[in-house]
Symmetry: C2
Subunit: 194 residues, 2 copies
Amino acid sequence: MGRPSVKDERREQILRAYETCVARFGVEGASLEKIAEEAGLARPLIRHNVGNRDDLLAALVDRFLSRSERSVQRMIDALPDSRATETLIDWLFDPNYSDAQFVLVAEALIAASQEDPALATLMKRWTRDFIASLRSVLENEASNASSDDLDAVAAGVAGIYFNTDSLTPMGNMSDVRHASKRAALMLVASLERS
Amino acid sequence: MGRPSVKDERREQILRAYETCVARFGVEGASLEKIAEEAGLARPLIRHNVGNRDDLLAALVDRFLSRSERSVQRMIDALPDSRATETLIDWLFDPNYSDAQFVLVAEALIAASQEDPALATLMKRWTRDFIASLRSVLENEASNASSDDLDAVAAGVAGIYFNTDSLTPMGNMSDVRHASKRAALMLVASLERS
DNA sequence: ATTTTAATTATCAAAATTGAAAATCAAATA
DNA sequence: TATTTGATTTTCAATTTTGATAATTAAAAT
Protein backbone atom coordinates (compact mmCIF):
# COMPACT_ATOMS: atom_id res chain seq x y z
CA MET A 1 0.00 0.00 0.00
CA GLY A 2 0.96 3.65 -0.10
CA ARG A 3 2.22 5.64 -3.04
CA PRO A 4 4.12 3.43 -5.52
CA SER A 5 7.85 3.93 -5.71
CA VAL A 6 9.43 5.23 -8.91
CA LYS A 7 12.95 5.08 -7.53
CA ASP A 8 14.23 2.69 -10.14
CA GLU A 9 13.03 4.79 -13.07
CA ARG A 10 14.22 8.04 -11.45
CA ARG A 11 17.57 6.47 -10.81
CA GLU A 12 17.90 5.51 -14.44
CA GLN A 13 16.77 8.96 -15.53
CA ILE A 14 19.35 10.61 -13.31
CA LEU A 15 22.20 8.32 -14.28
CA ARG A 16 21.41 8.85 -17.95
CA ALA A 17 21.59 12.61 -17.45
CA TYR A 18 24.77 12.25 -15.43
CA GLU A 19 26.29 10.22 -18.24
CA THR A 20 25.46 12.97 -20.71
CA CYS A 21 27.05 15.58 -18.45
CA VAL A 22 30.18 13.51 -17.90
CA ALA A 23 30.50 13.09 -21.66
CA ARG A 24 30.18 16.86 -22.15
CA PHE A 25 31.96 18.36 -19.14
CA GLY A 26 34.07 15.56 -17.72
CA VAL A 27 33.82 13.98 -14.28
CA GLU A 28 34.97 17.13 -12.46
CA GLY A 29 32.80 19.43 -14.54
CA ALA A 30 29.53 17.55 -14.11
CA SER A 31 27.87 19.54 -11.31
CA LEU A 32 24.67 18.44 -9.60
CA GLU A 33 22.96 21.53 -10.99
CA LYS A 34 23.79 20.58 -14.56
CA ILE A 35 22.74 16.99 -14.00
CA ALA A 36 19.43 18.08 -12.52
CA GLU A 37 18.77 20.41 -15.43
CA GLU A 38 19.71 17.74 -17.96
CA ALA A 39 17.40 15.27 -16.24
CA GLY A 40 14.59 17.81 -15.94
CA LEU A 41 14.37 17.23 -12.20
CA ALA A 42 14.88 19.30 -9.07
CA ARG A 43 18.33 18.92 -7.59
CA PRO A 44 17.21 17.41 -4.28
CA LEU A 45 15.78 14.48 -6.20
CA ILE A 46 19.30 13.46 -7.17
CA ARG A 47 20.25 13.11 -3.56
CA HIS A 48 16.96 11.40 -2.75
CA ASN A 49 17.28 8.79 -5.45
CA VAL A 50 21.00 8.18 -5.87
CA GLY A 51 22.98 10.04 -3.23
CA ASN A 52 25.86 12.48 -3.08
CA ARG A 53 28.61 13.07 -5.61
CA ASP A 54 30.62 10.01 -4.69
CA ASP A 55 27.56 7.75 -4.74
CA LEU A 56 26.73 9.18 -8.13
CA LEU A 57 30.14 8.39 -9.60
CA ALA A 58 30.15 4.89 -8.14
CA ALA A 59 26.73 4.23 -9.63
CA LEU A 60 27.80 5.60 -13.00
CA VAL A 61 30.92 3.45 -13.13
CA ASP A 62 28.93 0.39 -12.15
CA ARG A 63 26.31 1.12 -14.78
CA PHE A 64 28.92 1.87 -17.42
CA LEU A 65 30.82 -1.34 -16.87
CA SER A 66 27.79 -3.62 -16.85
CA ARG A 67 26.11 -1.94 -19.80
CA SER A 68 29.34 -1.96 -21.75
CA GLU A 69 29.89 -5.62 -21.16
CA ARG A 70 26.37 -6.46 -22.25
CA SER A 71 26.37 -4.26 -25.33
CA VAL A 72 29.74 -5.47 -26.58
CA GLN A 73 28.67 -9.06 -26.07
CA ARG A 74 25.41 -8.41 -27.87
CA MET A 75 27.21 -6.80 -30.80
CA ILE A 76 29.61 -9.70 -31.16
CA ASP A 77 26.80 -12.23 -30.93
CA ALA A 78 24.94 -10.40 -33.68
CA LEU A 79 27.84 -10.59 -36.12
CA PRO A 80 27.25 -12.79 -39.18
CA ASP A 81 29.34 -15.92 -39.67
CA SER A 82 31.01 -14.67 -42.81
CA ARG A 83 32.76 -11.31 -43.08
CA ALA A 84 32.35 -10.83 -39.33
CA THR A 85 35.34 -8.47 -39.05
CA GLU A 86 34.23 -6.20 -41.87
CA THR A 87 30.75 -6.05 -40.39
CA LEU A 88 32.17 -5.20 -36.99
CA ILE A 89 34.13 -2.29 -38.46
CA ASP A 90 31.06 -1.17 -40.39
CA TRP A 91 29.21 -0.95 -37.10
CA LEU A 92 32.00 0.66 -35.10
CA PHE A 93 32.44 3.46 -37.62
CA ASP A 94 28.78 4.03 -38.43
CA PRO A 95 27.77 7.17 -36.51
CA ASN A 96 24.14 6.00 -36.56
CA TYR A 97 24.96 2.68 -35.02
CA SER A 98 27.89 3.36 -32.74
CA ASP A 99 27.19 5.47 -29.66
CA ALA A 100 29.76 8.26 -29.40
CA GLN A 101 28.62 9.11 -25.88
CA PHE A 102 29.71 5.68 -24.76
CA VAL A 103 33.26 6.39 -25.88
CA LEU A 104 33.21 9.91 -24.43
CA VAL A 105 32.18 8.56 -21.04
CA ALA A 106 34.94 5.99 -21.23
CA GLU A 107 37.50 8.71 -21.99
CA ALA A 108 36.22 10.86 -19.14
CA LEU A 109 36.49 7.94 -16.72
CA ILE A 110 39.98 7.17 -17.97
CA ALA A 111 40.99 10.80 -17.46
CA ALA A 112 39.53 10.76 -13.94
CA SER A 113 41.55 7.62 -13.20
CA GLN A 114 44.60 9.72 -12.45
CA GLU A 115 42.92 10.97 -9.26
CA ASP A 116 41.31 7.65 -8.35
CA PRO A 117 43.45 4.50 -8.23
CA ALA A 118 40.46 2.22 -7.72
CA LEU A 119 38.84 3.63 -10.84
CA ALA A 120 42.13 3.22 -12.69
CA THR A 121 42.13 -0.49 -11.90
CA LEU A 122 38.59 -0.89 -13.23
CA MET A 123 39.22 1.11 -16.39
CA LYS A 124 42.44 -0.72 -17.14
CA ARG A 125 40.56 -3.99 -17.03
CA TRP A 126 37.78 -2.49 -19.13
CA THR A 127 40.23 -1.31 -21.78
CA ARG A 128 41.99 -4.65 -21.98
CA ASP A 129 38.67 -6.50 -22.07
CA PHE A 130 37.44 -4.37 -24.93
CA ILE A 131 40.59 -4.99 -26.94
CA ALA A 132 40.36 -8.69 -26.13
CA SER A 133 36.79 -8.77 -27.45
CA LEU A 134 37.93 -7.33 -30.76
CA ARG A 135 40.80 -9.79 -30.82
CA SER A 136 38.45 -12.74 -30.46
CA VAL A 137 36.54 -11.64 -33.56
CA LEU A 138 39.73 -11.18 -35.52
CA GLU A 139 41.07 -14.54 -34.43
CA ASN A 140 38.09 -16.39 -35.87
CA GLU A 141 38.74 -15.11 -39.34
CA ALA A 142 42.52 -14.92 -39.34
CA SER A 143 43.48 -18.03 -37.47
CA ASN A 144 46.83 -18.21 -39.23
CA ALA A 145 47.92 -14.79 -37.92
CA SER A 146 50.52 -14.59 -35.18
CA SER A 147 49.41 -13.82 -31.65
CA ASP A 148 51.41 -10.59 -31.64
CA ASP A 149 49.81 -9.45 -34.86
CA LEU A 150 46.35 -10.18 -33.46
CA ASP A 151 47.19 -8.15 -30.36
CA ALA A 152 48.46 -5.30 -32.48
CA VAL A 153 45.51 -5.13 -34.86
CA ALA A 154 43.00 -5.39 -32.02
CA ALA A 155 44.71 -2.55 -30.13
CA GLY A 156 45.01 -0.56 -33.34
CA VAL A 157 41.36 -0.91 -34.32
CA ALA A 158 40.26 -0.07 -30.78
CA GLY A 159 42.49 3.00 -30.74
CA ILE A 160 41.27 4.27 -34.09
CA TYR A 161 37.68 3.68 -33.02
CA PHE A 162 38.03 5.46 -29.67
CA ASN A 163 39.81 8.35 -31.26
CA THR A 164 37.23 8.72 -34.01
CA ASP A 165 34.33 9.00 -31.58
CA SER A 166 36.31 11.31 -29.29
CA LEU A 167 36.37 13.85 -32.14
CA THR A 168 32.58 14.17 -32.23
CA PRO A 169 32.34 17.18 -29.87
CA MET A 170 33.89 19.27 -32.64
CA GLY A 171 31.01 18.49 -34.95
CA ASN A 172 31.13 17.01 -38.41
CA MET A 173 34.47 15.39 -39.20
CA SER A 174 33.17 12.85 -41.68
CA ASP A 175 36.32 13.03 -43.79
CA VAL A 176 38.48 11.95 -40.86
CA ARG A 177 35.91 9.35 -39.84
CA HIS A 178 35.95 7.92 -43.34
CA ALA A 179 39.74 7.83 -43.49
CA SER A 180 39.84 6.23 -40.04
CA LYS A 181 37.47 3.48 -41.05
CA ARG A 182 39.57 2.81 -44.12
CA ALA A 183 42.64 2.58 -41.91
CA ALA A 184 40.93 0.05 -39.66
CA LEU A 185 40.08 -2.05 -42.70
CA MET A 186 43.66 -1.83 -43.97
CA LEU A 187 44.92 -3.00 -40.61
CA VAL A 188 42.62 -5.99 -40.67
CA ALA A 189 43.57 -6.76 -44.25
CA SER A 190 47.24 -6.82 -43.35
CA LEU A 191 46.43 -9.65 -40.93
CA GLU A 192 45.20 -11.89 -43.69
CA ARG A 193 48.48 -11.46 -45.55
CA SER A 194 50.63 -12.61 -42.66
CA MET B 1 63.01 52.77 -14.21
CA GLY B 2 61.00 51.18 -11.41
CA ARG B 3 60.80 47.55 -10.47
CA PRO B 4 61.48 45.26 -13.44
CA SER B 5 58.47 43.38 -14.79
CA VAL B 6 58.33 39.60 -14.55
CA LYS B 7 54.97 39.39 -16.29
CA ASP B 8 56.24 37.26 -19.16
CA GLU B 9 57.77 34.62 -16.91
CA ARG B 10 54.77 34.62 -14.55
CA ARG B 11 52.48 34.27 -17.51
CA GLU B 12 54.39 31.25 -18.74
CA GLN B 13 54.43 29.79 -15.24
CA ILE B 14 50.68 30.21 -14.92
CA LEU B 15 49.86 28.86 -18.36
CA ARG B 16 52.06 25.85 -17.75
CA ALA B 17 50.18 25.14 -14.53
CA TYR B 18 46.87 25.70 -16.27
CA GLU B 19 47.87 23.24 -18.96
CA THR B 20 48.66 20.63 -16.32
CA CYS B 21 45.28 21.20 -14.67
CA VAL B 22 43.41 21.02 -17.96
CA ALA B 23 45.16 17.75 -18.75
CA ARG B 24 44.15 16.36 -15.35
CA PHE B 25 40.70 17.83 -14.69
CA GLY B 26 39.47 19.04 -18.06
CA VAL B 27 38.61 22.58 -19.09
CA GLU B 28 35.58 22.80 -16.78
CA GLY B 29 37.37 21.19 -13.87
CA ALA B 30 40.45 23.41 -13.86
CA SER B 31 39.56 25.92 -11.15
CA LEU B 32 41.63 29.02 -10.42
CA GLU B 33 42.43 27.60 -7.00
CA LYS B 34 43.91 24.44 -8.47
CA ILE B 35 45.86 26.41 -11.05
CA ALA B 36 47.27 28.72 -8.41
CA GLU B 37 48.29 25.79 -6.24
CA GLU B 38 49.87 23.98 -9.18
CA ALA B 39 51.79 27.13 -10.11
CA GLY B 40 52.81 27.80 -6.51
CA LEU B 41 51.35 31.30 -6.67
CA ALA B 42 48.60 33.22 -4.94
CA ARG B 43 45.34 33.23 -6.84
CA PRO B 44 45.17 36.99 -7.43
CA LEU B 45 48.40 36.72 -9.40
CA ILE B 46 46.56 34.76 -12.04
CA ARG B 47 44.19 37.60 -12.57
CA HIS B 48 47.01 40.14 -12.44
CA ASN B 49 49.15 38.40 -15.04
CA VAL B 50 46.71 36.70 -17.38
CA GLY B 51 43.14 37.71 -16.57
CA ASN B 52 39.88 35.97 -15.81
CA ARG B 53 38.75 32.49 -16.78
CA ASP B 54 37.97 33.35 -20.37
CA ASP B 55 41.26 35.17 -20.86
CA LEU B 56 42.99 32.15 -19.42
CA LEU B 57 41.39 29.74 -21.84
CA ALA B 58 42.06 32.01 -24.81
CA ALA B 59 45.72 32.29 -23.83
CA LEU B 60 45.99 28.53 -23.37
CA VAL B 61 44.48 27.78 -26.76
CA ASP B 62 46.77 30.32 -28.41
CA ARG B 63 49.81 28.88 -26.67
CA PHE B 64 48.76 25.32 -27.44
CA LEU B 65 48.31 25.98 -31.15
CA SER B 66 51.55 27.85 -31.65
CA ARG B 67 53.63 25.47 -29.56
CA SER B 68 52.07 22.49 -31.28
CA GLU B 69 52.82 23.85 -34.71
CA ARG B 70 56.42 24.55 -33.81
CA SER B 71 57.05 21.22 -32.09
CA VAL B 72 55.50 19.15 -34.87
CA GLN B 73 57.50 21.06 -37.44
CA ARG B 74 60.68 20.59 -35.43
CA MET B 75 60.04 16.87 -35.10
CA ILE B 76 59.50 16.45 -38.82
CA ASP B 77 62.58 18.49 -39.64
CA ALA B 78 64.64 16.31 -37.34
CA LEU B 79 63.64 13.09 -39.11
CA PRO B 80 66.46 11.30 -40.96
CA ASP B 81 66.31 10.97 -44.73
CA SER B 82 66.03 7.21 -44.69
CA ARG B 83 63.47 5.31 -42.62
CA ALA B 84 61.79 8.59 -41.74
CA THR B 85 58.39 6.98 -41.12
CA GLU B 86 59.73 4.28 -38.81
CA THR B 87 61.66 6.91 -36.89
CA LEU B 88 58.56 9.06 -36.58
CA ILE B 89 56.62 6.16 -35.12
CA ASP B 90 59.49 5.36 -32.79
CA TRP B 91 59.25 8.88 -31.44
CA LEU B 92 55.46 9.05 -31.25
CA PHE B 93 55.24 5.86 -29.21
CA ASP B 94 58.26 6.43 -27.00
CA PRO B 95 56.88 7.60 -23.64
CA ASN B 96 60.20 9.33 -22.89
CA TYR B 97 60.13 11.32 -26.08
CA SER B 98 56.45 11.96 -26.72
CA ASP B 99 54.65 14.29 -24.32
CA ALA B 100 51.43 12.70 -23.13
CA GLN B 101 50.27 15.96 -21.59
CA PHE B 102 50.23 17.51 -25.02
CA VAL B 103 47.73 14.92 -26.22
CA LEU B 104 45.66 15.16 -23.02
CA VAL B 105 45.35 18.92 -23.47
CA ALA B 106 44.31 18.41 -27.06
CA GLU B 107 41.63 15.95 -25.99
CA ALA B 108 40.36 18.31 -23.31
CA LEU B 109 40.12 21.16 -25.81
CA ILE B 110 38.34 18.90 -28.26
CA ALA B 111 35.86 17.89 -25.56
CA ALA B 112 35.29 21.54 -24.65
CA SER B 113 34.60 22.31 -28.31
CA GLN B 114 31.05 21.13 -27.91
CA GLU B 115 30.28 24.21 -25.79
CA ASP B 116 32.41 26.61 -27.83
CA PRO B 117 31.93 26.79 -31.61
CA ALA B 118 34.93 29.08 -32.11
CA LEU B 119 37.14 26.59 -30.30
CA ALA B 120 35.65 23.81 -32.39
CA THR B 121 36.74 25.57 -35.57
CA LEU B 122 40.30 25.94 -34.28
CA MET B 123 40.56 22.36 -33.06
CA LYS B 124 39.13 20.97 -36.28
CA ARG B 125 41.85 22.76 -38.20
CA TRP B 126 44.44 21.60 -35.69
CA THR B 127 43.35 17.97 -36.05
CA ARG B 128 43.41 18.08 -39.82
CA ASP B 129 46.77 19.85 -39.82
CA PHE B 130 48.28 17.23 -37.56
CA ILE B 131 47.04 14.41 -39.78
CA ALA B 132 48.30 16.30 -42.84
CA SER B 133 51.75 16.57 -41.26
CA LEU B 134 51.90 12.81 -40.78
CA ARG B 135 50.66 12.35 -44.33
CA SER B 136 53.48 14.45 -45.73
CA VAL B 137 56.04 12.20 -44.06
CA LEU B 138 54.32 9.08 -45.35
CA GLU B 139 54.09 10.49 -48.85
CA ASN B 140 57.82 10.96 -49.12
CA GLU B 141 58.51 7.29 -48.57
CA ALA B 142 55.47 5.73 -50.25
CA SER B 143 55.06 7.90 -53.29
CA ASN B 144 53.37 5.10 -55.19
CA ALA B 145 50.55 4.81 -52.66
CA SER B 146 47.10 6.12 -53.55
CA SER B 147 45.95 9.40 -52.09
CA ASP B 148 43.10 7.69 -50.25
CA ASP B 149 45.47 5.18 -48.70
CA LEU B 150 47.77 7.97 -47.56
CA ASP B 151 44.81 9.76 -45.97
CA ALA B 152 43.73 6.57 -44.27
CA VAL B 153 47.12 5.62 -42.86
CA ALA B 154 47.79 9.17 -41.68
CA ALA B 155 44.43 9.30 -39.88
CA GLY B 156 44.97 5.80 -38.52
CA VAL B 157 48.44 6.49 -37.12
CA ALA B 158 47.23 9.76 -35.61
CA GLY B 159 44.25 8.02 -34.01
CA ILE B 160 46.33 5.22 -32.55
CA TYR B 161 48.84 7.74 -31.25
CA PHE B 162 46.24 9.99 -29.63
CA ASN B 163 44.48 7.06 -28.08
CA THR B 164 47.68 5.58 -26.70
CA ASP B 165 48.63 8.76 -24.87
CA SER B 166 45.08 9.30 -23.68
CA LEU B 167 45.40 6.06 -21.68
CA THR B 168 48.27 7.39 -19.56
CA PRO B 169 46.11 8.65 -16.66
CA MET B 170 45.42 5.00 -15.80
CA GLY B 171 49.10 4.37 -15.23
CA ASN B 172 51.27 1.74 -16.83
CA MET B 173 49.71 0.21 -19.92
CA SER B 174 52.94 -0.68 -21.67
CA ASP B 175 51.44 -3.82 -23.20
CA VAL B 176 48.77 -1.82 -24.99
CA ARG B 177 51.30 0.84 -25.94
CA HIS B 178 53.53 -1.80 -27.44
CA ALA B 179 50.69 -3.40 -29.39
CA SER B 180 49.57 0.03 -30.58
CA LYS B 181 52.99 0.89 -31.90
CA ARG B 182 53.12 -2.42 -33.71
CA ALA B 183 49.73 -1.64 -35.25
CA ALA B 184 50.98 1.73 -36.47
CA LEU B 185 53.95 0.03 -38.10
CA MET B 186 51.69 -2.55 -39.75
CA LEU B 187 49.53 0.23 -41.13
CA VAL B 188 52.54 1.95 -42.63
CA ALA B 189 53.84 -1.32 -44.02
CA SER B 190 50.57 -1.96 -45.76
CA LEU B 191 51.13 1.28 -47.67
CA GLU B 192 54.30 -0.01 -49.23
CA ARG B 193 52.47 -3.05 -50.58
CA SER B 194 49.85 -1.03 -52.41
C1' DA C 1 -12.43 9.15 4.04
C1' DT C 2 -8.50 7.91 6.51
C1' DT C 3 -4.09 6.08 6.60
C1' DT C 4 0.16 5.05 4.78
C1' DT C 5 3.97 5.31 1.89
C1' DA C 6 6.89 7.85 -0.79
C1' DA C 7 7.62 11.54 -4.17
C1' DT C 8 8.33 16.30 -4.42
C1' DT C 9 9.27 20.89 -2.96
C1' DA C 10 11.04 24.43 0.14
C1' DT C 11 14.49 26.04 2.78
C1' DC C 12 18.80 26.53 5.19
C1' DA C 13 23.73 26.53 6.20
C1' DA C 14 28.38 25.56 4.85
C1' DA C 15 31.88 25.53 1.58
C1' DA C 16 34.03 26.66 -2.66
C1' DT C 17 34.71 29.58 -6.54
C1' DT C 18 35.15 33.82 -8.81
C1' DG C 19 35.70 38.80 -9.71
C1' DA C 20 37.53 42.88 -8.27
C1' DA C 21 39.75 46.59 -5.84
C1' DA C 22 42.60 48.47 -2.24
C1' DA C 23 46.68 48.29 0.39
C1' DT C 24 51.29 46.92 0.94
C1' DC C 25 55.85 45.63 -0.27
C1' DA C 26 60.13 45.29 -3.38
C1' DA C 27 63.42 46.77 -6.63
C1' DA C 28 64.95 49.67 -9.74
C1' DT C 29 66.67 54.79 -11.14
C1' DA C 30 67.64 59.69 -10.61
C1' DT D 1 67.42 58.77 -0.27
C1' DA D 2 63.17 59.80 -2.67
C1' DT D 3 60.49 58.36 -6.38
C1' DT D 4 58.50 55.40 -9.43
C1' DT D 5 56.99 51.23 -11.29
C1' DG D 6 55.09 47.05 -10.66
C1' DA D 7 54.82 42.65 -7.88
C1' DT D 8 52.48 40.79 -4.06
C1' DT D 9 49.22 40.41 -0.44
C1' DT D 10 44.96 41.50 1.78
C1' DT D 11 40.33 41.90 1.77
C1' DC D 12 35.58 42.11 0.27
C1' DA D 13 31.24 40.90 -2.04
C1' DA D 14 28.71 38.02 -5.26
C1' DT D 15 27.85 33.69 -7.12
C1' DT D 16 27.83 28.78 -7.37
C1' DT D 17 27.92 24.39 -5.52
C1' DT D 18 27.00 21.06 -2.18
C1' DG D 19 24.89 18.67 1.82
C1' DA D 20 21.10 18.15 4.51
C1' DT D 21 16.52 18.40 6.67
C1' DA D 22 11.81 19.82 7.18
C1' DA D 23 7.43 20.56 5.08
C1' DT D 24 4.25 19.50 1.64
C1' DT D 25 1.87 17.00 -1.78
C1' DA D 26 0.39 12.80 -4.45
C1' DA D 27 -1.15 8.15 -4.95
C1' DA D 28 -2.22 3.95 -3.38
C1' DA D 29 -4.93 0.54 0.10
C1' DT D 30 -8.17 -0.40 3.83
